[in-house]
Amino acid sequence: MVKISVLQHAPSTHLPARPGDPTPTHRNLDPLLHPFARARERTRALNAAKMERMFAKPFLASLEGHVDAVEVLARRPESVTDVASGSWDGEIIVHNLARRTHVAKIPGAHKGKLSGLCWADEERILSCGVDRNIKMWDVKPLAVFPGKFSFNSIDHHRTDPLFATASSIVQVWDETKSAPVLDITFSTAAETVTRIQFNPSESSVLASIGSDRTFTLYDVRTGKAERRIVMQMRSNDLSWSPTFPTTILLASEDHNLYTFDIRRLNNPTQIYKAHVAAVTTCDWSPTGTELVSGGWDRTVRIWKEGQGTHPEVYHTKRMQRVLSSAFTADARYVLSGSDDGNVRVWKANASEKLGIVTARERAAIEYRDTLKDKWQADREVGKVQRSRHIPKPVYKAGSLKRTMLEAQRVKEERRRKHTRAGESKPKAERKKVVIAEQT
């Protein structure tokens, strides 16, 4: 007796049962049936990285209307589309991003530069300017709060009818009263306070930065300035994290951004290094996972939270120095207002496909993202992912900066080598930022 069996594939299991049905597919995960699996996956990863760069077209629109530099951008609470912008000629425009139209336009809202703008609630706008006035708007003026100094910044309390202004002093105002209710300047300060912001979750905490290289924390309930730090260089902008109430982001004049944990102000939790000139503006995404910053180097950069290098960099030929930036409420778009009077709309993820994405397409996108992540250590894939074309002046400034920093470092090292051993220790970058902490 002999048992013989010969392989045969029954067509019924391999062909569609009825015309129009999908052809059945079969899987065999035996690695011998998948030769070159790794090499092919690498090719796929390389293609995915190249496709990402090919489809990276981040610029969406330029919202025109201002005739001077756009100093401040403020997104309307509870709205995805509406954003107010104020410019140096004292004009306020409320843009609708989806339709790219002006919802409201208030020319000559202030005499001279409009320096601060915020939403009091969903309808009313608060603005301040160098003409020493604070004005409340609902397209037409509702109230005027005359002040004694030219104002630099304004921010409204999250829930209460309070707002704070920054001038040479920090004042807290009640919407119903024409004079400030509180003056909470730090006792020994004699500086110009440039920016001010309420903490969105711990809403009576107020933070400010000043021209004296300071960062100060206030509490409206005690009516006092609580703590202050003096840093190496002055900050230009600040922004509270929307998800971590203790985290604040500072845009510094020394080309870096810093996040601080306000419980430990002696050193920053993270340094964000890539700008090649002073950083003038910064904002968190509403998810708290990304940051946007704009600088004197005419670029907008988008950072991952906690990753201090290799940000996404956006630039255009005609964009001048970036003075204001903001994320939209859905975290998908980024706005930048610049010296040339335009508000530009960018995608937060440069290669994201806009419009309807089918489930299959979504699966393909996710697979490509995983591949890029998995193969990022590969030399070619990583190179494609990392390299960016940036304007020549920015590139030159970057390389010059690198050379200078390297020279400084070498000099420091040599100096240390030729002093007595143990006399001077190298200081970590993070420890260098804060000079003094005052309470």
Binding site: S5, V6, N28
Partner: protein
């Protein structure tokens, strides 16, 4: 919100996601100080281990079992079973694989597509045909009226290449001549590397040429310097081309090396056939020579053949099947040997136990091809082609993403585009295909202490590390006068042309510099020397701090 919903739909089901404690075979990275990197690596290795376990589980889902022959009696042998008996036993559907094609026009060669659905045949006198052998649909039939030595399908049955008397020609499915590859002169054998889209040819001129069929570029042209060559095989797992030559050598080629990656004296006469085992991941190669022997080689260790035997009938034609059965066609019969027994090293030259044999009275038997995913072996001979059934030779479960015998037109087109996108660059062909994605070897330009990167070292140290520093006249502070004399002597004998200004400068730089590191090393060496001396003395039996005393004379010497 829409994004989130779509994401939930496409993500892995929970049962397949890695969770719980990491599997036992996941690597640990406790030695890495960087916490972020450590977590990242641990997560990746846990995921990989998990995936591996899942792959093992997935074997349960395979539908079809492999074929086979089993005898019950102790004295029964599978090779005694004839094809007629097999055909009678297996039923009508499976028996369709047994065929005799009687054709004129000289010894025939055949080739299957990668999914085993289509077949191309070529007769020496110029008869070319391609067809779907399962449905019996003819795609094209040509009478080329010149010598045709080999045929191969390209990426699938839509194109094929024929080695004709002068050049290689490419035809499409309908037999329309698309290209004449003038660079490939007098070709004898063709191989197509499907994942690289390369057509490799060897000819009477002894040039191995690689043509990229997607771009049309001639990628590489290697002169073998070993004369006309009529034997070629590819290793499907690393895309290395194996050539057998007239002087008995077998050479392994990749497009990026101008010389063979391996050169091996396999036979004492011309090599007439080479084949690589796909079932072991390309680990074993078998060769047959005009000296009448068949050898099996281990491709990892070329020191001698694993097994050698001499089949009847002289020069043989060898071919491995997908599941590791070796067919040897020699003289007037085809012998099939089962796997395992072929790999076992054995002293002497007895043939391995036979699995199946089949006589074919039409010499010469020229080509032997197993059909992928089927238990079919096709032998080309002087009177056409014979297909016989070899139970158990074919892989039972195919993967539709790689090669599907039942794919429809749309799937074929889809796969063609996908495989073009996944095309691997020709310079990535190496003997070890696993080098992709493995860690790069450590740079040779590493400094002793890892804190200072190479670029930040002082120039002298950089030269030292890269081995370019002139260390012939190292000034040492510990040198005594005798050594100084030596140095003077050396300098006197120094060859001309060594007194470069740079070296003079470097020498000056080294003078009067007290390098704390050098001092420390010197101190350490001194200490080591003392310790060694002490140990030597201790071994001789002298106590470490022993002063000679008068009582030493009474000590017993061993």
């Amino acid at each position: 919100m829409d994004n989130l919903i779509a994401k939930a739909k496409t993500s892995l089901p929970k049962s397949l996601r890695a969770g719980g404690p990491p599997p036992a075979d996941a690597r640990s990275f406790g030695h890495i100080p960087n916490k972020k990197l450590r977590t990242h690596l641990t997560r990746h290795s846990a995921q990989a281990a998990h995936a591996k376990a899942l792959v093992k589980d997935a074997e349960l889902l395979l539908e079809t079992d492999a074929g086979g022959m089993e005898v019950e009696g102790e004295m029964d042998r599978t090779w005694r079973i004839t094809q007629d008996e097999i055909v009678k036993e297996v039923g009508l559907e499976a028996a369709r694989g047994r065929k005799e094609m009687v054709l004129d026009g000289g010894p025939y060669r055949s080739r299957y597509t990668r999914n085993g659905r289509h077949m191309a045949i070529v007769g020496l006198k110029g008869h070319v045909a391609t067809f779907d052998w399962q449905t019996g649909t003819m795609h094209s039939e040509l009478q080329l009226k010149e010598t045709c030595r080999d045929i191969t399908f390209l990426q699938d049955h839509s194109h094929y290449a024929v080695a004709q008397s002068k050049y290689v020609f490419i035809y499409d499915r309908d037999g329309v001549e698309l290209h004449r590859l003038k660079a490939h002169v007098e070709p004898t054998r063709l191989e197509f590397l499907p994942f690289h889209w390369l057509l490799a040819t060897i000819g009477n001129t002894g040039h191995l040429k690689y043509q990229d069929t997607s771009t049309g570029q001639l990628v590489a042209d290697h002169r073998t310097k070993l004369g006309a060559c009529t034997t070629m095989a590819q290793n499907a797992h690393n895309a290395v081309i194996h050539l057998g030559h007239q002087n008995g050598t077998v050479t392994l080629w990749t497009p990026n090396l101008p010389h063979p990656a391996v050169k091996l004296l396999a036979h004492l006469g011309p090599v007439c056939s080479v084949s690589v085992d796909p079932s072991s991941g390309g680990r074993y190669m078998s060769t047959a020579g005009e000296d009448g022997s068949v050898k099996v080689w281990d491709c990892r260790n070329w020191k001698g053949a694993v097994r050698t035997w001499n089949p009847r009938g002289g020069s043989a034609e060898v071919q491995w099947s997908q599941r590791g059965y070796l067919a040897v066609a020699s003289g007037g019969s085809v012998n099939v040997y089962s796997r395992r027994s072929i790999y076992q090293a054995f002293p002497g030259t007895p043939p391995p136990p036979l699995y199946l044999t089949h006589p074919i009275p039409h010499r010469p038997l020229q080509s032997v091809r197993f059909c992928p995913y089927q238990d079919i072996l096709t032998i080309g001979h002087a009177h056409g082609l014979s297909s016989i059934l070899v139970p158990g030779s074919g892989e039972p479960n195919f993967d539709s993403a790689e090669a599907d015998p039942f794919e429809n037109r749309k799937a074929r087109r889809e796969r063609e585009v996908k495989s073009l996108l996944d095309k691997i660059q020709p310079d990535m062909i190496t003997l070890d295909p696993e080098f992709v994605g493995s860690l790069a070897p450590e740079s040779k330009l590493t400094t002793g202490d890892t804190d200072v990167p190479f670029a930040r070292l002082p120039r002298l140290n950089r030269l030292k590390v890269s081995g370019k520093a002139d260390e012939t006249e190292e000034v040492s502070d510990a040198e005594d006068t005798g050594k100084t004399q030596d140095r003077e002597e050396r300098e006197k004998r120094k060859m001309r042309g060594k007194g470069k200004s740079l070296k003079r400068y470097l020498r000056k730089q080294r003078k009067n510099v007290i390098d704390p590191k050098a001092v420390a090393i010197r101190a350490k060496l001194e200490k080591d020397r003392n310790e060694r001396k002490k140990a030597r003395e201790a071994a001789k039996g002298i106590a470490a701090d022993h002063k000679p005393s008068a009582l030493d004379r009474f000590k017993r010497t061993l």
